[in-house]
């Protein structure tokens, strides 16, 4: 009986590892694709060819061409750079900012904690994307401002996780022992607190990559993100949505790209969560 359960767990563990390798390499492929996008495009993504506009998918243009005759495949590949880079930048900013605020609140406590947490409550009380639109509207369009807007609404989640984890750490005997060892605050935060809380935070940020990518694309779709002619998946969809009924490939190509990359990052996030789960790590 016991042998059967042991075997079952082993198989489950192995699938987690296989999934990690699979989705990890897919995500890596996506990243490489965006880094080397300049060399992968079959055509110049900004070169207009009005004589060949709105052409359906063919051997020469796999995803067809848009209303200016630009090759859709090339634009989707180049767009990956804008989309993926800005998403990773956004997730990086939000993770770092939220963690810093949360650790500070949890460690310091007292009135600073109360003030910062009430501020984060305020940010959480607004419907996220609407608030981001307002911020982006005030700051003016552009990819940079879209990132700032989304960072402004997303940090409270990370601050909350980091804060609760820090509070839990503060109560542990090993942290008291570190205090008694005469280590200063910074040393304790970087050597003991941060390494012990970073796991769940990283998992959350992995899971958020997909959401952030969609929200950035959403802002761009609304005209508050990347400006034309910059190839960005959200704005590409928005530019061409009038062609959806007659020339669907023009809209569907960037949509498909968003779908695939969000999917890959979500699955990777899920897998990392499973992998980091102490229950799945137990022998």
């Amino acid at each position: 009986m016991s042998e059967v359960t042991v075997r079952k767990q082993k198989i489950k563990k192995d699938t987690v590892r296989i999934r990690l390798i699979l989705f990890g390499s897919l995500a890596l492929l996506l990243l490489l694709c965006s880094i080397f996008s300049d060399y992968l495009t079959p055509y110049d993504p900004y070169l207009q060819d009005l004589g060949n506009a709105k052409a359906p998918p063919s051997a020469a243009h796999l995803f067809g061409t848009d209303r200016y005759g630009r090759d859709m495949l090339s634009r989707v590949i180049v767009g990956s750079r804008t989309s993926i880079y800005s998403t990773l930048l956004l997730v990086g900013i939000v993770t770092a900012l939220g963690t810093a605020v949360g650790v500070f609140c949890g460690w310091h406590g007292k009135w600073i904690d109360t003030v910062l947490m009430r501020i984060s409550d305020m940010f959480l009380a607004f419907p996220g994307l609407v608030f981001a639109m307002a911020v982006a509207g005030v700051l003016g369009g552009g990819l940079q401002n879209a990132i700032i807007a989304l960072a402004a609404i997303s940090w409270p989640k990370y601050a909350r996780i980091a804060r609760s984890q820090t509070l839990a750490q503060k109560e542990t005997p090993w942290l008291k022992a570190a205090l008694l060892s005469g280590s200063g605050t910074w040393k304790i935060l970087f050597k003991h607190v941060l390494p012990n809380i970073i796991g769940p935070i990283l998992v959350t940020s992995m899971l958020d990559i997909g959401t952030m990518m969609m929200e950035l694309a959403g802002l761009s779709f609304l005209g508050l993100g990347a400006k034309p002619p910059t190839a960005e998946w959200g704005s590409m969809m928005s530019d061409t949505r009038s062609l959806l009924t007659t020339r669907p490939w023009v809209t569907l190509a960037p949509g498909f790209a968003i779908f695939v990359s969000v999917m890959i990052f979500n699955l990777l996030g899920d897998t990392i969560r499973d992998y980091a789960d102490p229950k799945s790590r137990r022998r």
Partner: protein
């Protein structure tokens, strides 16, 4: 001779939110002399741990004063507090949790040595010496807390506490989570370390096992509901308890 630790009128009141305030420690005073081993016993909730947390300044006192080696440490912070930690160290109740799970035992023991300004090499040598002194082998420095047993971990915790050559060692139920034979070993180790250091090391031994206190301590304080209800030599108290709670405590064992 000046006592190593002098606690006067120490009080801790936890302010209630929506209910009455709780006086966890109620004006307690005691002295701990150089080289002495003082036991502190009492049931759960009697305030033993609160007293210890106030002495180690992990918790702020509501009133009273704590003098360590003649210096008032009741309100010290930052650098001064870190200086106080060179004279006072602590061994915790749960050995496995008293070391950072992501760092080796050697890292944990060496942390205060590094903070004292020792080089990496010196620290490594000193950690090996401390481990040997506490009945472990130097290779334990490379192990993680989950790779050693509770007793071994507690030995490492004692090694860590002794690394700064403290005058006062506080053992907060340091033997409670270990089984009886290992308890004996740890107490024997503490006894040995104390006799090696002559009058240099004083121990405040928090415990709820009166039999262990009788074997190990020179003097004992009995706490009940935040007050010290009785103090004296363990044998005398066990033979002739003066307080109703102490009598109950002794009756429950014998």
């Amino acid at each position: 001779m000046e006592p190593v630790l002098k606690v006067s009128d120490l009080t801790k009141v936890f302010t209630g939110r929506g209910h009455a305030d709780l006086t966890a420690v109620d004006h307690i005073s005691f002295e701990l002399h150089s080289g002495e081993c003082l036991g502190l016993i009492g049931e759960s909730g009697s305030g033993k741990t609160t007293v210890v947390n106030m002495i180690t300044r992990l918790l702020d006192a509501s009133g009273g004063s704590i003098l360590l080696d003649g210096r008032d440490i009741t309100r010290v912070r930052g650098k001064e507090l870190r200086m106080a930690y060179r004279k006072m160290q602590m061994v915790f109740q749960t050995p496995a949790d008293s070391f950072d799970p992501r760092r080796t035992l050697g890292d944990g023991i060496g942390e205060s040595l590094r903070n004292l300004g020792l080089s990496r090499e010196e620290t490594k040598k000193e950690v090996a010496r401390l481990l040997t002194e506490c009945g472990l082998t130097p290779d334990f420095a490379g192990r993680y807390p989950h790779e050693v047993s509770g007793g071994q971990c507690q030995r490492a915790a004692i090694a860590r506490a002794l690394s700064v050559k403290p005058r006062l060692l506080i053992c907060d139920e340091a033997t409670s989570s270990l089984d009886v034979t290992i308890q004996k070993e740890i107490v024997a180790l503490l006894n040995e370390l104390r006799s090696q250091r002559g009058g240099e090391l004083s121990i405040l031994f928090i415990c709820h096992d009166i039999a262990l206190v009788q074997q190990f301590c020179d003097r004992v304080l009995v706490m009940y509901r935040g007050r010290i209800v009785e103090q004296g030599i363990p044998d005398a108290i066990i033979r002739d308890p003066g307080d109703a709670y102490t009598r109950r405590l002794i009756d429950s064992i014998l």
